[in-house]
């Protein structure tokens, strides 16, 4: 859904659903996934509706993913790191 408009000097790789994705140093996980064409980030607990980032500033929680085994991480707030394993969240119970 998004493309880079300048040259990328520090690429790194991580995994989304087991698939290799290229990102760059300084990206949040959400930015990297949007650039990598990830599709939905999670499904809602109530109706399993697909969701993807809405605000990208930590408010809406529609970017929740599982990162390195930890659920409910805000992809828009977590910097991506080389080798990170990110998974979609299939509608977990609410955290509040």
């Amino acid at each position: 859904m998004f493309r880079r408009f300048d040259k990328d000097d520090t690429p790194l790789e991580f995994f989304f659903e087991g698939r290799r994705v290229t990102a760059r140093l300084g990206d949040t996980v959400a930015a990297a996934l949007l650039a990598g064409g990830a599709g939905p980030f999670r499904l809602t607990p109530a109706s399993r509706a697909p969701r993807a980032p809405y605000c990208l500033m930590g408010l809406c929680f529609d970017c929740l993913v599982e990162i390195d085994g930890v659920a409910n991480r805000q992809a828009c707030m977590v910097p991506v790191a080389s080798g990170m394993r990110v998974r979609r969240q299939p509608g977990p119970p609410s955290v509040a």
């Binding site: 949007l34 605000c55 990208l56 509040a96």
Partner: protein, 448 residues
């Protein structure tokens, strides 16, 4: 940042906590990184953005302690602060706390706004500033006020052309606002109006399709956004877009000021709650101050001034200067603040939020987390639900992971209208810690 610089430069012991990985806040987000890519990269984002370079440098040189990547998740009236950083939580105590958590974009609940591919205009800008990302699919910017125009310009400068620009402002508001022109015509106001006109002219020149007086937006798509349908003038239109960016002004982020227990007042002109403050930014809770857009929307220049005014007062609270000294040092900033403030009534009248998003139709989802519609909320009111906090037990509304950040303002409006009450009578969600989810392990490991 401005307040912190001043405090550090006067020798106060200060710690700045920010969730972002680098200095800049919203307006100057990622400014240091963009600056390393040279002048063109900065210029693409506009002249105001470049002003952040000097501020960030001053902040770095000020000598204040700075913890980037730190999320504050609890603040008590006794001025205890809990902050999560690198997966660990730390407990701190302070003599004075200055909350400067900024603004959020007003939620825009329209049919289809929960579909993947629907974002805020600010979100598109965040990708542009911090990740050099541009839309690569047909996209639409929809909204009113300065931000959509600015982001349209930033996209065009970087090489992406919106399929359409949907101006949701209403011409009658523009005319009504003109009555406030005389009062507003100081230098800041003239600068602001000139900037707005220049952005509009640039958009016209670009040849992007612009629809005016847009109403009844509806985003279509089964699993993701595919198109947006709307009315403009008398005609109905449909524009294909896999990315739809919405905006309807900004409101103070009230999560943290509510959490501490600061008293809030309803600002009828800005149509939002804001913390009740004195002229220096002191809230109703002793030693807890608020500055910037979190205190009420004033824009970047006034946020910097408010930060400085609060810093002078903090020096007094800390016993470093007396009131006379504070007043003397603050006099120039106070005058500048008055000039900045004069322009707000004009802006507020030009771009009031649209009624259809304040109080959306029955089928529109209000609480994104728990998927509660405005209709369900009205039904709950009919069954005896008396306010936002009861709506939680009726519908789980506001109890999902976002803790009511996105539904709170709408829930209050919908319940107030349904019960025939004022907004003040209706009130707002009670906010409880933690502000952001922290794992039990993190709490167990708490370093104090």
């Amino acid at each position: 940042m401005s307040g912190a610089c001043l405090l550090a430069e006067h020798g106060a012991q200060i710690l700045v906590l920010d969730e972002q990985p680098a200095p800049g806040g919203q307006i100057y987000r990622a400014v240091e990184r963009v600056a390393t890519q040279g002048r063109t990269a900065l210029d693409r984002l506009g002249g105001e953005y470049a002003a952040g370079v000097a501020l960030a440098a001053r902040f770095r040189a000020s000598g204040c302690a700075y913890w980037p990547g730190s999320t504050v998740w609890q603040v008590t009236p006794e001025r205890s602060v809990w902050v999560s950083r690198n997966g660990r939580s730390v407990h701190l105590r302070a003599d004075v706390i200055l909350l400067a958590t900024g603004a959020m974009e007003r939620p825009v609940p329209v049919p289809g706004w929960t579909l993947p591919g629907v974002m805020t205009v600010g979100a598109v800008q965040i990708l542009l500033k911090s990740a050099a990302l541009l839309p690569s699919v047909p996209f639409v910017l929809a909204g009113s006020g300065p931000l959509p125009l600015l982001v349209a310009q930033q996209c065009l400068a970087a090489g992406a052309r919106p399929a359409a620009f949907l101006d949701t402002g209403s011409p009658s508001n523009m005319f009504a606002a003109m009555r406030h022109l005389p009062g507003a015509l100081g230098l800041p106001a003239r600068r602001m109006l000139a900037k707005g006109l220049a952005l509009r002219a640039a958009l016209r020149r670009s040849g992007v399709r612009v629809f005016r007086n847009v109403r009844d937006m509806r985003i279509e798509g089964d699993h993701a956004a595919e198109a947006i349908r709307f009315r403009s003038g008398r005609a109905e239109h449909r524009v294909e877009a896999q990315l739809v960016a919405l905006h309807d002004g900004v409101i103070p982020s009230q999560q943290i000021t509510r959490l501490v227990g600061c008293a809030h007042v309803w600002d009828a002109r800005q149509r939002c709650f804001r913390p009740q403050l004195d002229d220096w930014g002191n809230s109703s809770v002793e030693g807890v101050m608020v500055a910037g857009d979190a205190a009420g929307i004033g824009g970047a220049a006034s946020a910097a001034l408010a930060g400085r005014l609060a810093a002078f007062e903090a020096l007094r609270l800390l016993g470093r200067i007396d009131a006379a000294q504070r007043d003397k040092w603050a006099a120039a900033d106070r005058r500048a603040m008055r000039a900045e403030r004069a322009v707000r009534p004009l802006l507020e009248r030009m771009f009031p939020p649209r009624p259809e998003i304040l109080c959306p139709a029955d089928d529109v989802v209000v609480c994104r987390c728990e998927e509660v519609t405005a209709g369900a909320l009205r039904q709950a009111v009919a069954q005896g639900c008396q306010g936002p906090n009861q709506a939680k037990s009726f519908l789980r509304c506001g109890m999902g992971p976002c803790q009511g950040r996105l539904c709170g303002p709408v829930v209050t409006e919908v319940i107030a209208a349904a019960r025939g009450q004022t907004i003040e009578e209706t009130g707002y969600f009670r906010i409880r810690p933690p502000l952001k989810p922290v794992t039990l392990g993190e709490i167990a490991l708490l370093e104090t």
